[in-house]
Each structure stands twice: as C-alpha cells, then as structure tokens.
Subunit: 330 residues, 2 copies
C-alpha cells in the first residue's frame, strides 16, 4: 500500500496558511493523491486541487499548472529525491509499505556467492537496508552505489543510473526492488550486467535481460532506419525539466552537415498521435525524455539523444557499440 507523508503536508499548510493548494503525483498513485486532497480540505477547509496531468518525474512537476491555478503551495507526491523542495514545489514522499523479506530470501538461491548491488526507485528506497542485510546474512556481498545529482544512494530514475553504473566493474549483478521493469531495464542496459527484479507482490525474482535486450534491439533498429532518412524533425520537449534547446540545435547543425533537411518542433507530450499531424519528416529526434523513444511505439523512427548521437556516428562511419552504456541518457 502506498503511504503518503500527509503529516508533512499538514505542517507546511499550518506554517504557510495558504488560500488553496495543489497536489500531483504519478498516474499510478493518483487515487492516493485524491485521498490526501480530501484530507486537506476536511482539515483546513481550503480548496485542494488534484493536478491530474502527467508528472513523470522531477523533470515534469507541472509547476506551471499550479501557477495557473494560483495555488499557494504545490505538493508533488511520490518523486523522492535528495531534496525536499524543487523550483518552489514541495516534494512529498510516497512509500510503498510492502515487505521484501520473502522475495529477498527467495533471491538468495538465484545469486548465491556473488557480489551484487541493490537498486530501487522512489517508492522502495526505505527497503534497501533491510534487503541488503538479508543478502549479506546469506553471504552475498552487497554494494550500494552513491547518489549523484538528484539521486539518493541506491536510487535510479528512468533516465539516470549513476548509483548503478559506478559499480558496474565491481559487481556481478543488480537487484532491483519493486515491480518496475521500466527502471530495471534501464539498469540492465546502462550497465550491461544481469539485473534481477525482486517483485514483492508476485513474490517473484525475474531476470530482466531479455526484456532489456528487446528494447535495445528496437532502439538500434530505429537508429539504422533513421540513417536512411533525408528529412528530420528535431523535437524540443516543453516540460519544465525536459527543455534541451541547445542539444536540439546541435543535432540540427550536425545533420545539416550531412546534407539532411531539418525542421524544428516543440511539444509538451511527444506521442505518435501528435506526430501524425506533421508532414514531410522521415525521422524524428526528441531531446525531451530518452524513455519516450525506447519504451513507446511510433510509426517512424523517433530517436532519443543517445540514439541520435549513435546516428551521427553511423553517418560518420564510426561504430555505435555500447551507446546505451552510460550513467545517464540525457
């Protein structure tokens, strides 16, 4: 069950006495965000708006939405990072209280005698130490990678993997806590090491390599398809933490050197449906969020930044080995 730190929200409201507040969180926990909003209105008698747009991460807080509403405090729930406040938005923890003891014990038989690193996403950070102890008690050596940027120790985003990649020459495998194949695949691809998902709900240990390789195959195929393209669209993302105009203009310049035509676009949500409105573009490059390209389906190549860098290598007749093996994909 997801447990939101409502006490912290109450303390903020008591301290700042807002006329209204807004709350948002990832789609999966929106019902719990709604409950928190109801509690706030019951306790303080003020409007509490649930901002129900997407918030994919701290790159996508939708603080403009909250400003438009005129809310005095915005609570972004469920994106725990190494700070409490980002761009004026109060970050609130949403931890999953599910227990990993059983699945961690199960895991021991899969990885006995090895050296592993335990990694997770925001919802299960508080479980890292417990799982570490269970594995160590069974004689497995466990390393927790250091946080960097916004990341806490042992934490990964969908696009940043520092605590994982810094250990890739030291550990034999990664153990990811949670159900997110999405995050685990990022670890597998950025480290090229066996990565196990410890799913506490299914009490299941699953290796993610095959799934990750499928994503990579699809990503690589897109790059080679794009290499045949004559006309490109380079898309700048409009979400507040996804703006990379400099990269967009760099890719434009590089592609034009190779005789390609390039149009510039900007989009808030980069979806196949939105791209279908555009004409005369053989392949897109989007510099907003790398996972849009690797994890979504598009009718034509839509490359992320690491894919676009690989494309430029192909156009320069260089090798593109290991283009996803990097501590981040931005």
């Amino acid at each position: 069950m997801i447990v939101i730190d409502t006490e912290k929200m109450f303390r903020e409201i008591e301290a700042k006495n807002p006329a209204s507040v807004s709350l948002n969180g990832p789609d999966g926990i929106l019902p719990q965000v709604q409950e928190a909003a109801v509690k706030i209105t019951e306790k303080f008698g003020i409007p509490a708006y649930v901002l129900a747009d997407t918030t994919w991460g701290t790159c996508d807080l939708n603080s403009n939405g909250s400003k438009v509403l005129g809310a005095d405090i915005q609570f972004n729930i469920g994106h725990t990072i190494n700070t409490d406040m980002l761009d004026g938005v109060v970050l609130i923890d949403a931890f999953d209280d599910v227990n990993f003891d059983s699945v961690a014990k199960k895991c021991i038989t899969h990885i006995t005698g090895k050296k592993v690193s335990v990694v997770t996403d925001s919802q299960h950070l508080h479980r890292v130490d417990g799982v570490k102890k269970i594995l160590e008690d069974a004689g497995i050596k466990v390393k927790i990678g250091s946080g960097k940027g916004q990341l806490n120790d042992g934490q990964v985003f969908g696009c940043e993997f520092y605590p994982a990649t810094e250990l890739k020459d030291i550990v034999d495998a990664y153990v990811f806590l949670g159900q997110s194949n999405f995050h685990a695949a990022g670890i597998a691809l950025s480290t090229n090491k066996p990565t196990y998902v410890l799913d506490p709900y299914f009490n299941e240990v699953r290796e993610i390599t095959e799934f990750a390789l499928k994503l990579k195959k699809k990503a690589t195929l897109s790059i080679y398809k794009a290499a045949q393209a004559k006309s490109f669209g380079v898309i700048v993302g409009l979400k507040e933490g996804q703006l990379s105009k400099v990269f967009a203009l760099k890719f434009k310049k590089e592609l034009e050197k190779h005789g390609k035509t390039v149009q510039l676009f900007a989009l808030t949500d980069i979806t196949n449906e939105r791209l279908q409105n555009l004409r005369g573009v053989d392949a897109f490059i989007q510099v907003a969020c790398p996972r849009i390209s690797t994890d979504n389906r598009f009718d034509m190549p839509v490359l992320s930044s690491p894919q676009a860098n690989a494309l430029l290598k192909i156009l320069n007749n260089e090798s593109i080995e290991e283009y996803l093996e990097a501590p981040h994909w931005l």
Copy 2:
C-alpha cells in the same frame, strides 16, 4: 487550399529582428504551418519552431509553450478574430481559397424565398460577402449578424454564437460556409433553427439538424445520469483562456448544498484516458471548454457549464428546457 499570410509574418520579423520564432495552428493546418516555418528559416536564417501541441482556439494559444522555448515572436495561425494580437501573440490569417459559388447556387433551391443568415468560421470569413450576393441575387433575404467579443461579423466559434443567436427571431435558417459540422451544430443548437452546411469541397448542401439533435440528446442524457451521482469531480481547465476557477468553486458549493461530495481537479487536456486514473467519482463537471463534453466520448458523465447549470435546475426540480439555446456556452 489553405493560404497563410506569410507576408505579415515576414513584416513582423523584419520589424522586430527576433533571434527565434515559434508558430502554431490547429491540427488540420499543421502541414501549412510547417511550410511557413521552413520559409522563415530560409529567408531569415533563424530557428522557427513549430509548436505542435493542440491550439483549439484563441482560448488555447499555448503562449506558455512559446515562452518556455524563449521564442521572441509567437505566430498563432488560423484563428482569425477581430484583433491582430492577443496576449503578446501575433495572430496570422489562414484563409481557405476554395470557391463557394457553385455550392451557393445549389443552396438556392433548398431555401428559396426565405430569410437566412450566413455564418462561418475563421477560414472562410472572406467568402461571406460573395455568398450573400449570390443568395440575394436569387431573391433570398440575407442578414449578417454583428460581431461581439472576439468574433467578427458573421463568425462563430465552437463555444460562442452571438452573430447567429442575435438573429434567431428574424431569420428562418442559417447557412454555414465550410465543412465544419462542429461549428454548424453549435449554430443549430444555440438557435434551434434549421442550419445548412455549404460544403464547397463535396459541392454539397446538408442540413445539420439531425446531427445536432444527436449531440443534444447525448448531452441531456449525461445530465440526467449525473443527477443520480453522489460524488462529483469538478475540473478546472489549465489552458490559458479556459481557466474558470470561479465557476468551478460555484458548482462545488451548489452541489454540496444538495448533499453531494465534490473533489476538485485541474487538467490541461480533459480526456477519457486521463479521467480513468481517478477514483471514487460518479460524474464530472468541467468548466474548461463546453465542446469537450458535447463532442467527445467519456465512460461517465462529464458535463460542461451549461449542462451543469441544467443539472442544478434538475436538483432544484426546475425545468431544463432550452439549456443550450444561448449566445455562448461558457
């Protein structure tokens, strides 16, 4: 063919010497917006970003998107209103050069001897006088309603119909220029008069009454379904010209008087998909854009403001006759 007033854009750029510009327009003319962007870059050597998010009207200019990009000038194309500039955005005409002579002559046999009003949307405003003359030459009396707010004479939006409604006691029917059943249905519903679409591409005159009545039936059914609901979600739209927090709070208060529970939400794009993330809500009211409710499909009632006003009447045991017969639906 859609003809964009690129000369006006060139003059603006020459006068202001921007480092970069952005352009947007409704989905249907995005290819022509792309062409305009290419021309600008060719002529001035500056980045011209096509903002490919939706822009449903002057209520949805996406000027924040252009600000995020840092573009020095934003051109919004295709939403002709009675001013050249709105909230710092330069409005550029996009007229359809299709000729109405043939379909206007065809129309004469449908409506001989009557008094009609010619109405249209932004793309065909320049054809009103020509069609008026053809009808008058055939002995039909033609009235053109006066503009109001942002509307030019003879123009309607999807949500505002002043030039049509002001004549509803004077004319027998409306003649809409263009292919948009969407706009024509708005005229039919807001006036309760026969409305004919003059479609120059199919060279076809079609009455829109049946289509409009279907929309109304669906809208009315939603109101009665919502009257059974116990828990409501009231949604504020975050698009810059769609913010109606006051209405949202009014509906909340009124519904609570009737013993309903009400949660507050905010969304940029109000879609069935986004609403599916939310729990414990029997019916929604959205105060963003009335056409979202009448023209889209949702799994549960999603009422617009006029529908919500009708709902309150039902809850007060009053009649809801003619709830859409109004000069605007905001």
